[in-house]
């Protein structure tokens, strides 16, 4: 791609995502940064290289994050926790599927992966907004 093309942050952190729990907020930010770096690599045609070097770690981060989030939701008696876990499971399956394919030596389908994680990330973003609102409304987090 031409040098004049400047990568933008495809995924943006918005203040509404903040659940006011530093650990969770940092994990969200880190994931978005990772996704933006993946996008940047794809823009340069080096998505596979990025995947080989970093995706395992990124997927691990996501799995750990979901565990943290579910623990927090349980503690906060979040009424939509069931739907949230279902959504997490879908995202977990997606990540595992790509990792397994990679470990089997299959070619990495970066476009497919980016689409899958983009859809997953956007869905998660909407869920996080809902959860953050719940935490604020129930006094678990500062408004």
């Amino acid at each position: 791609m031409e040098k004049s093309i400047v990568a933008m942050n495809l995924f943006e952190w918005v203040p509404g995502y903040a659940v006011q729990i530093a650990e969770i907020d940092e994990e969200h930010k880190l994931w978005l940064r990772t996704m933006n770096r993946f996008h940047d690599a794809m823009l340069n045609g080096t998505g596979k290289k990025f995947f080989r070097a970093e995706f395992a770690q990124a997927a691990q981060l996501l799995l750990t994050h979901f565990a943290h989030e579910e623990k927090l939701m349980t503690a906060a008696h979040y009424p939509h926790i069931g739907a949230q876990i279902k959504e997490h499971d879908g995202f977990r399956r997606t990540c595992r599927m790509f990792m397994e394919r990679f470990e089997r030596g299959e070619n990495v389908l970066t476009v497919q992966l980016m689409l899958a994680v983009s859809v997953g990330t956007l869905r998660h973003g909407a869920s996080v907004l809902r959860f953050a609102e719940y935490l604020r409304s129930t006094g678990h987090a500062a408004a």
Binding site: M1, M8, M42, L43, N107, M114, A116
Partner: protein, 611 residues
């Protein structure tokens, strides 16, 4: 955006001109019956109005640079997408590869057939070798009969006693060599069958054949070229739109700058009102020395505010119209980019997906082909060595046969010398000779089989078999693999770029929508002006009602002095409209007088200094 404010040339810096104007408004008229407190409230409303509306305009001004930058980025990205040499080299390689891959598929059939043929050859070899077993038994029988016959002949047949021993000995040797050859033949079968199983398993893993995959990828590339054509058209359209958007932004900036004119008008009104309050008689708070003059001043200020309101409304309307136009164009661009990608909200629908899958399948197919060739090569290398060993055994059998034939010939000559007595031995020697000839034919057939197998083992990869342990990936496969990998890289790159264009468009649309939503200066201004006018009218009415009638007082007392201090043509026009007295423009007012309305100024956009 120009940052060179010192090099204005003909540019009109409205804000600097208006703000630098020195001198106060003339105010010889005195407040009469004016409520200082009420006027103070009006002043506060107008001051606050100027501040608030300025904030509204400034927030739009601050966004403009971002908007322009984003539109420019989208334009560059669409151009890059249209001009990307996406897969052009890959397309050439793939077209060439289609022909080659068809042949490769045929070679795959040959490979399978070759191994199966070798498997058949080994079977034949074994059957031929098994045939030697009977020959050996016959030899042994002939040796025994020879021994019996020589014993019967007694001393006459003494010369033939060695013949019996030799036949037995040679039969033993043949048996030993045949057993060895059979053992070698047995060892040939497992690797061939193993290779056949491995190749068969690899073929089962392959979901599509290579030529079909390559054809599909070429079709996908053709689809991408359509996308590029669309991007090119979009880029061209965007070029025109970009000009329109830039023009819209310039008009927007002019409209924003015209806020300075209305602000100045409002400031002038505030200044007059402040002077009215500051000159009120101390003590009563309701001075009424010149009630008719004060009332006329208030009426004039109401008219100035009404004029400012009209201009402000026109300016706001232009801002909103321009923002709406820009938003519409940006939205069209975003929609167009999304249409190019073919992406649906759930992440499906894009031709990029099958294209990537086909690239991946081609690479997998190449990998399978390479593995199958490695397996075949390894098998053939092993077979070649084994066949060499077997050839050694067959050569030894042939040597034994030669000895037998020679021995049988000698025996027949000796039997001939014996005459009738040796006729039986002659028959036996003839049989040995016949048998040896049959052996020769059989071993010749073995040699032919081995030669054929040896050829099959070394035919396609003769050099590799002999000299190399490297994978059989020739230059062509390497080139194809690289081309497909490059194609995938450019596919993901173009996909990422389209995603970026779509995201930029969406974000810009949302940003403009928010900016439009937050831009409430028009309503704010109209409401505040209406309130101020109402208050001033009430104050004026109160003055008229409460003050003693003084016929000597001229209603327009002192108003004429305002004329020389106006800085804008519109102020003079309003003044003339109220008093009926034609004004004389000040040099400053004449300079900026033509800058009356945004629409007029917009005709000369090049003279406008951006923020």
């Amino acid at each position: 955006m120009s940052g060179d404010r010192g090099n204005g040339g003909n540019r009109v810096r409205l804000d600097v001109i208006l703000r630098s104007r020195e001198g106060a408004m003339p105010l010889d008229v005195q407040p009469s019956g004016v409520s200082t407190e009420s006027l103070g409230q009006v002043i506060a409303v107008l001051d606050s109005l100027n501040h608030d509306t300025e904030q509204g305009f400034m927030s739009i001004g601050a966004k403009l640079a971002d908007f322009m930058q984003t539109v420019s980025a989208i334009s560059s990205e669409l151009t890059a997408l249209a001009n990307a040499e996406h897969g052009q080299k890959a397309s050439l390689v793939l077209t060439h590869a289609l022909d080659r891959s068809t042949r490769m598929s045929a070679a795959q059939g040959d490979r399978d057939g070759g191994l199966a043929g070798m498997r058949r050859e080994v079977g034949l070899l074994k059957r031929t070798l098994s045939g030697f077993q009977e020959t050996v038994e016959t030899f042994r029988t002939l040796g025994l009969l020879t021994r019996i016959e020589t014993a019967r002949l007694g001393s006459t047949g003494a010369d033939f006693s060695d013949l019996a021993d030799d036949v037995s000995l040679l039969a033993g040797q043949v048996q030993s060599k045949v057993a060895s050859a059979l053992s070698i033949a047995d060892s040939l079968i497992p690797p061939i069958e193993s290779a056949m199983r491995e190749i068969s398993a690899l073929e089962a893993e392959q979901t599509s054949d290579l030529p079909a995959l390559i054809s599909r990828t070429l079709a996908s590339l053709s689809s991408f070229r359509d996308v590029q054509d669309q991007a090119k058209e979009s880029s061209n359209r965007l070029g025109a739109k970009y000009d329109a958007i830039s023009d819209g932004f310039k008009k927007l900036i002019v409209s924003i700058q015209f806020h300075d004119i209305t602000r100045q008008q409002v400031e002038h009104v505030v200044e007059v009102l402040q002077r009215l309050t500051s000159r009120s008689e101390p003590g009563n708070g309701n001075p009424a020395r010149h009630p008719r003059g004060t009332s006329a001043v208030l009426e004039l200020q109401c008219a100035q505010l009404a004029d400012a309101d009209k201009k402000f409304a026109a300016s706001v309307e232009t801002v909103e119209r321009n923002l709406e136009g820009i938003a519409r164009t940006v939205l069209e661009m975003a929609d167009e980019s999304r249409a190019i990608s073919g992406l649906r909200d759930d992440g499906t629908g894009s031709f990029f997906l099958p294209m990537e899958q086909d690239c991946s399948a081609i690479l997998a197919s190449l990998s399978h082909t390479a593995k199958a060739e490695v397996a075949t090569l390894a098998t053939r290398k092993g077979l070649a060595k084994t066949i060499d060993k077997m050839s050694g055994s067959i050569q030894e059998i042939q040597q034994v046969e030669t000895k037998m034939r020679r021995m049988a010939l000698n025996a027949r000559i000796s039997a001939f010398h014996l005459g009738d007595t040796g006729s039986a031995l002659d028959v036996l020697a003839g049989s040995v000779q016949q048998l040896a000839s049959e052996c020769k034919e059989r071993s010749q057939s073995l040699v032919t089989s081995l030669h054929s197998m040896s050829n099959a083992a070394t035919s396609s990869r003769g050099e590799d078999v002999q000299d190399s342990d490297s994978a059989p990936e020739d230059e062509y496969v390497g080139e194809l693999r690289q081309a497909v990998a490059d194609l995938h890289s450019s596919t993901e790159s173009s996909f990422a770029l389209i995603s970026q264009i779509v995201a930029r468009g969406d974000r810009l649309s949302a940003d403009i929508a928010t900016t439009r939503q937050n831009f409430s200066a028009g309503a704010l201004f109209a409401e505040a002006v209406a309130r101020a006018q109402e208050s001033m009218k009430q104050i004026g009415d109160m003055i008229q009602l409460g003050a003693p009638l003084d016929d000597s007082e001229e209603p327009e007392s002192g108003l004429a002095d305002f004329m020389s201090h106006y800085t804008m043509q519109s102020e003079m026009d309003v003044h003339q409209g109220i008093t009926g007295v034609a004004t004389v423009s000040s040099p400053l007012a004449a300079q900026i007088g033509r800058q009356n309305l945004p629409s007029a100024a917009a005709d000369d956009l090049d003279n406008v200094e951006f923020f």
